[in-house]
Amino acid sequence: MSYFFQLVVSGVVVGSIYALSALGFVLIYKSSRVLNIAHGQFIAAGAFITYALTVWAGIPIYVSFIISMVLTFFLAMSVERVFLRRLIGEPIISVIMVTIGLMSILDGLIYLTPFGSENFSFPAFLPTTPIAVAGVSISWTQMVGVVTTFALIAGFTWFFKKSTVGISMRAVSDDQLAAMSIGISVPRVFGLAWAMAGLSAAAAGAIIGNITGLNFDTLHAFGIVVFPVVILGGLDSILGAVVAGIIMGLIQQFASGYLDGHWGLNGTGEVMPYIVLLVILLFKPHGLFGIHEIERV
């Protein structure tokens, strides 16, 4: 039984990071209807900037965490300004392809740095003995990661519910024309959505980097596993992203915990999200919390 609870705990840890990664993705989709395929690269960039600031520049990790969020905020904003602003009004297919190209460009830029080929791990700054309760153990890094994640998600929720900027972003996602007519600058909101997505991606990246170590392939995979999460959650719902993130983390941990090693299966945790994704697409394509606006064609 303690094995089961151990899986639940690690599922929630992984799931909350998925939730944070998916959050940024949903922000962009919600405001500008763009599928950002390059999201994993922003996650990786955030993690690498945090590492570079902490280890190479010697800044305390809490400060460098915040600096990397700020830097990625501006990185994502400038990406939107340079590449996506001029594609407003183009068919959605070319906008998605631009993000695919963007993914490739950022990949290339990351391969230019040492992070592309080597593995790094953050210096331990928390106690290394795990917290153990009734046979279930969780490391301090994971604990702090989960707490930070939920704090950030709560912060984002507050931002969208209460602040003027957040409300204007929701207005744009609801009806662009109406939003424009009451004086909201829609392109600015798009830029802001990308910037916020970059910020949350950087936070997710730094947390993943602390928990699993810095490996470009792993961080890259987080950007792609976001797709099953957002589809399960319903593409344009922030609550959906959070709930689906945790569900997906649990599914993944249970799959690798109970299926691996039996019937010659291996690495099921990696593939399970995509199988779930295909099943959802076939039977409940608007996800758990999505708006039922998909038309049958």
């Binding site: 490739s104 995509y274 394509p285």
Partner: protein, 364 residues
Amino acid sequence: MSSNRWLATGNYFTSYQQEQRIFFTSLDRTAMLLFIFGLFIWPFFIHAGNKHMLIIDNILVAVIAVMGLNLVTGFAGLISIGHAAFVGIGAYTIASFARVLGDSHVLLTHAWPLMILLAGGMGAIFGAIVGLPALRLKHLYLAIATLSFQMIFQWVINFMDFFNQGQTISVGRVAWITGQVTRKEHYLFWYYAILVVAVLLGFAVRNLLRTRYGRCLVAVRDNDRAADAMGMHPGFTKVYAFALAGFLAGVAGALHAFLYRGVGVESFTLHHSISYLAMAIVGGLGTLPGSFLGPLAIKVLEMQVEQLSEWASAHLTFAANLATALKPLSFGLVIVLFLMFEPRGIANWWRIVRSYVKLWPFRY
């Protein structure tokens, strides 16, 4: 066409049949036939080494795969981020036969044209399965479905013993009328084999696009409700587009397997899917000449990038992983720049040149 079309000031079609012709003048047809003839005979005059022959063969395989991608993404307007996985399905069809029957079984060495067709069929089946969500969904979701197919494919190959866990599975040398194809003439032999397949499929696709079965793809892309009102079933048309793309990809994969005499998962990863997309975009989505020009341009670019990074790593000390970095960087830049400045691709330049020549001495 009675009068000389090269002197005409515009298109004077009087029936739809005239507009749908493949060759508008006999000069067009002669030029095309001469061009294809040239493709067949140049190896007799110019001796290309195995290294160059392999590159040319690679381009032709990519042409076949990109024709498929162009059908589904260009003509039917459905983004596929998993095209390399469909190519992989074709290659692994051959590989599974080699695995079960041994790599020099008579089916592989003598009945290889049949095996290529079978691989295409497998590709079509998987294409249709992945396209099934199209019955309910629009393109955004389909892009994600193809992406997840790519991931599932990579996992299945990487973790199953039957597929040698992604390591190379070798495929034997094939036989021809003159006996077994030797090591020396391997690439030349496959140049001709792939060229024949590419020309046949090129004409097949060109003709398909003139019939109702090809035109329905474009109709569904442009306006699916109008297409529905005209009596087409948009959902089934999309599934059918995926199946067609899967067929061409499967054929390309089988040719890839025979050409390299082995199949490994590293040729069918997400990066390859993206480079197929880059080829289709650079060539020009929704144009048939684009499917030929795109792979050519991208492969040439790839070669240049490789040379550049070789030169750089010889002359610069820090350029350790410049080779891995420059490739995705240049691909990404090419995709983004083409989408931003020339969304209709190189095929559009070809069109401009043609109309310039046609209208000369008047300005284009």
